[in-house]
């Protein structure tokens, strides 16, 4: 197993090595030691490999990830897995703000809490947060799913488009044009698959509430001016 110690090797060396991997590589599991909160670790990957990072990472870890599995045995800074396209990112600790921002596909699992604007402008990624999420989670989220086992802060789903939000705990407040919606069987099935994928087979999908767009602000109308 290739091991890169970021106490001695620069992040540039790690990313360059990961970018140079061919689809046929048999170096499919990588270990990264001593990340020490450095930024942009394992960004821009595009190969079906697993990168396990022992420690906490800074901004943008696994940014724009494709295909790869990135595991962080620690916490993650701002913009975790931003604009991720596919693959899987798993953070064992907490995540700072804007986790999964603008991401298009794959699965992001956060074992701890996620800070503000988790899933901002989400475009198709599935996010499962085992703890709670901060304010403005799902802001302007377009597509994808955000599952929160804990509580959600203020202005959940503000200005949301077609993304789906599932919260098991309390919601401090809903944002503009975000409403609670019925949790139907199709949503319970979707939740079941997401929880299973996140390694949570014992969590009851029926215990969540669903939130999404009221679709009242999709076309500008002067009568809605008070909502903005």
């Amino acid at each position: 197993m290739p091991t890169v110690d970021l106490a001695t090797a620069p992040v540039r060396e790690l990313n360059a090595a990961l970018h140079s991997l061919q689809p046929s590589t048999n170096e499919t599991v990588w270990r990264v030691q001593n990340p020490r909160g450095q930024h942009a670790i394992a960004v821009g990957l595009d190969a079906p490999v697993t990168v396990e990072i022992d420690g906490s990472v800074g901004y943008y870890c696994a940014g724009m990830n494709k295909q790869a599995t990135v595991v962080v045995n620690g916490s993650a800074g701002q913009g975790l897995a931003e604009n991720m396209m596919s693959g899987r990112v798993h953070v064992k600790g907490d995540a700072s703000s804007a986790a999964g921002a603008t991401a298009c596909g794959g699965l992001l699992v956060i074992d701890g809490n996620a800070s503000a604007r988790c899933g901002i402008s989400l475009r198709g990624l599935d996010i499962v947060v085992k703890g709670s999420v901060g304010h403005m989670t799902g802001f302007m989220a377009q597509a994808g799913n955000i599952v929160v086992l804990g509580d959600a802060g203020d202005a959940l789903g503000d200005s949301i488009y077609e993304a789906r939000l599932f919260v098991r705990g309390t919601v401090k407040s809903l944002g503009t044009d975000c409403i609670e919606k019925e949790l139907r069987e199709e949503h319970r099935m979707l939740l079941r698959s997401l929880l299973d994928a996140a390694g949570l087979p014992d969590v009851d999908a029926a215990g969540f509430r669903r939130y999404g767009s009221g679709r009242k602000l999709y076309n500008f109308h002067i009568d809605n001016i008070g909502a903005y």
């Binding site: 942009a40 603008t102 298009c104 377009q142 500008f220």
Partner: protein, 445 residues
């Protein structure tokens, strides 16, 4: 009429304050209850390049021979950090304009015209189209706050990256692509349902402030293996500090867009009342680069109301490395063309004034997604027109540079300029014509 009656009534007098436009706007606002949204850039008169003149050569300045002695025009962008800087044959680039606000043939035409002349064009909100990439030998990929269409594969296929913080028409504002322009293809590229208004965010989703921007730039460099030049584009608001902060954040190139810069759809009040004319913004930006020892190391591209080669030359003389054009490029490929007058009349406007680019009914087939209108624009012919126009800009700029004795357009300098008004002298920091007076010289920006 008897002899004295003619003096009883004064002729109609328009108020300078409540002029016809102001009165019409009050009536319109009272009738609709909503502000005016339009395209184009600022239409009010502001101090501009017309207020500057070149001095040309004289006994103490030696000119170069027109049509004989060479006058270089190439510019290299991004050598500060990028492994693969880009070199433009002319110091004129095409500004970012989205597929969505523009039709696919229009984007292709911009790429074709720019490529013929050896310069770059730029994507916009919604990402990169195949037509645009195929037609553009040098393509700059914008990273915008909305991130519509943002894709790492497209990032890697680009020749440079431009992080858009703001634009001159609306510093501090986001955007709105109205539902009538959201075709199936546009909607798919932006991951949104067709037909709904698409709000483009005014803030980036994953960074706030210059310290974060520095890290964001590092991330983009890491993803692209430090190969691509990275630009930072700002609307002209606080050009000294924004330029300094962009340099501090690691930008290879700073793009500075004045208030005359175009937009596809913005509130008229925003276009006309927020931001600085580009004339007032260039010198502070150049000063910031000079104070940091980065002038000519970090390149400065300026835009907002560039129309002719004299404007280009004046930007360069004030210290810019290149200019960018948007509105002028659209006009070159056919926007507001007089032969479409009958159709403009049907839209309640006239050729030369058409600015309802957000409505998607452009008879020229440029600012529309209507399939029938879009088909009117031949991207090959339109690209040729743009190339012709870029060629004229370049020739005009060279003509002036030679007359000032410069063997490269970058050798133009403020000393070659004078101003016709006190305002423009203060903004451009060149002497009022016929004097050695530069108002405000030495004062704070």
């Amino acid at each position: 009429m008897s002899g004295d009656e003619r003096w009883i009534h004064t002729p109609p007098r328009e108020s300078a304050t409540f002029d016809k436009h102001a009165i019409a706007e009050i009536h319109r606002a009272a009738a609709t209850g909503i502000y005016d949204i339009r395209g184009f850039g600022a239409k009010r008169k502001v101090p501009h390049f017309d207020d500057l003149l070149f001095l040309g050569a004289s006994i103490s300045r030696y000119p170069l021979e027109g049509y004989r002695e060479s006058c270089g025009t190439e510019v290299t962008l991004g050598a500060r950090h990028a492994k693969k800087p880009i070199t433009l044959r002319i110091p004129i680039t095409i500004a970012g304009m989205s597929f969505g606000s523009l039709s696919a043939p229009a984007k292709e035409a911009l790429g074709r015209g720019a490529s013929i002349m050896g310069t770059s064009t730029t994507t916009g909100d919604g990402g990169m189209t195949e037509e645009e990439r195929a037609a553009s030998s040098l393509l700059v990929y914008q990273v915008l706050p909305s991130r519509y269409g943002m894709d790492p594969d497209q990032l890697r296929r680009a020749d440079a990256i431009e992080i858009v913080v703001g634009q001159g028409a609306k510093p501090g504002g986001g955007g709105m692509l109205l539902g009538q322009k959201i075709s199936e293809r546009v909607a798919r590229m932006r991951t949104l349902p067709p037909g709904i208004d698409q709000r483009s965010a005014c803030r980036h989703p994953d960074w706030t402030g210059p310290d974060d921007l520095e890290i964001k730039i590092i991330e983009l460099r890491e993803i692209t293996d430090w190969q691509k030049p990275i630009y930072v584009k700002v609307g002209a608001a606080r050009p000294y500090y924004d330029t300094a902060l962009a340099v501090k954040s690691g930008a290879d190139v700073v793009v500075l867009d004045g208030m005359q810069g175009g937009t596809a759809a913005t509130q008229d009040v925003f276009i006309e009342h927020v931001g600085l004319p580009i004339l007032a913004a260039i010198r502070p930006a150049v000063q910031a680069l000079q104070d940091l020892g980065m002038h000519r190391k970090v390149q400065l591209i300026v835009s907002g109301g560039v129309r002719n080669g004299a404007d280009v030359a004046k930007c360069l003389a004030l210290g810019a490395d290149a200019v960018s054009i948007g509105t002028a490029a659209l006009i070159a490929i056919g926007d507001n063309a007089p032969h479409l007058e009958d159709e403009y009349r049907k839209l309640g406007t006239t050729a030369g004034c058409y600015d309802d680019w957000h409505e998607g009914r452009d008879p020229a087939g440029i600012t529309t997604q209507d399939p029938e209108l879009t088909r009117r624009l031949d991207p090959v012919a339109a690209g040729r027109r743009l190339a012709n126009y870029l060629s004229v800009l370049t020739l005009e700029c060279q003509t002036i540079a030679r007359a000032c004795g410069k063997s490269h357009v970058h050798n133009l300098e403020p000393e070659d300029l004078v101003a016709l008004t006190i305002e423009s002298a203060a903004m451009a920091q060149v002497p009022l014509a016929g004097t050695n007076w530069i108002p405000g010289k030495g004062g704070p920006f």
